[in-house]
């Protein structure tokens, strides 16, 4: 069975790509307020919106959400397209679509809010890293990345932090197939005492109880007074003596 996304791709593919002349004619009709022309212009460019959304999906967003966002960008481009400037609609629209998609990625795809300029730099850094690895087989240094992109080291570091923060997970996020555990449940407790330590403590405890029970009343009272532990009700007995 085909998913709704496949059906959407199929229906978007049914619309033919417009020629430059058709685009100008439709743009003129849109200017005159023809809503049918507007629909034709949008539907004919849905493939462009999908292809841009797919390119950005690797940065962490949900593809269906990104397609929605890129369609919003496409609608805006249709409204603002000026046929008199002589450009192809796809050239003009791709900027609006990219802007809509990147803005959505910045605001929605991370647990931590990252400034859009940092995220934009992060994307560039990520791309440079990938290309550098492919060319030289090793990771570029911060200085090299800065030189390639014309960014200061400070901005490169911020971009790296942005990449890390983007993949930050909520500790309460559900994980596993059944979703009955949170991410926090799977983290090891660094402060948990091992069984050895617990057993060791128990041994020491027994020894100390024995030692305390062997103290005279005089010694016990002095210890209690020095340690600020109130005296027991049992007047004559050392409280540490284990009774049968």
């Amino acid at each position: 069975m085909k998913s709704s996304l496949d059906l959407y791709f199929k229906s978007a593919g049914e619309h033919k790509i417009l020629t430059r002349e058709q685009e100008v004619e439709l743009a003129k009709r849109i200017e005159a307020g023809d809503s049918t022309a507007r629909s034709i212009m949008i539907e004919s460019n849905l493939k462009l919106a999908i292809s841009i959304a797919k390119k950005y999906a690797k940065y962490g967003g949900n593809l269906e959400d990104l397609i929605q966002e890129s369609n919003i960008g496409l609608i805006k481009a249709v409204e603002k397209f000026d046929w008199r400037k002589g450009f192809k609609f796809s050239t003009y629209a791709s900027w609006w679509i990219k802007q809509a998609v990147t803005r959505s990625l910045t605001s929605n795809s991370s647990q931590v809010k990252i400034p859009s300029h940092t995220l934009s730099n992060a994307r560039k850094v990520w791309k440079v890293q990938k290309e550098y690895r492919e060319s030289f087989g090793c990771e570029p240094t911060e200085t090299e990345i800065g030189e390639i992109l014309g960014l200061s080291q400070k901005h490169v570091r911020q971009a790296f932090k942005g990449i890390k923060a983007k993949y930050a997970k909520s500790i309460d996020e559900r994980v596993g197939d059944e979703g009955n555990k949170t991410f926090g449940d799977t983290l090891p407790d660094e402060n948990a005492k091992s069984l050895d330590v617990i057993l060791d403590n128990e041994k020491i405890r027994k020894v100390i109880i024995n030692s305390l029970s062997s103290l005279t009343k005089r010694e016990e009272l002095v210890l209690r007074l020095r340690f600020g532990i109130s005296e027991t009700d049992e007047e004559d007995n050392n409280i540490y003596v284990i009774k049968e």
Binding site: V207, I208, L221, F227, G228
Partner: protein, 96 residues
């Protein structure tokens, strides 16, 4: 008796403030009132010797060949005293 070199700076002293109890002068007064006549020096000696008894048993548990000097040093160590206070409070709490 002077403290061994480096002992104070490394671990500090246990004081009545850190232990939450009374000074040796106060202890000797209270003990005298209860019929255990003693001065502040005796109060301190009794306190240290009681802790030495406990330290000796703990050392035995670990099969450590410790001489009297080491036992004395352990008993005066604030970390050891803190541990004993914790155990005593725990036992006290459980008895209640």
């Amino acid at each position: 008796m002077p403290m061994p070199k480096g002992f104070k700076s490394k671990n500090g002293y246990s004081t009545k403030k850190t232990l939450g109890g009374k000074s040796y002068h106060e202890i000797s007064d209270l003990m005298t009132d209860q019929g255990y006549k003693m001065n502040h020096s005796t109060a301190r000696n009794v306190f240290v010797s009681s802790l030495e008894k406990i330290a000796r048993d703990v050392v035995k548990l670990y099969d450590v060949d410790a001489d009297e000097n080491s036992i004395n040093r352990i008993s005066k160590d604030p970390r050891f005293q803190d541990a004993i206070v914790s155990f005593m409070r725990e036992i006290e709490y459980e008895k209640k």
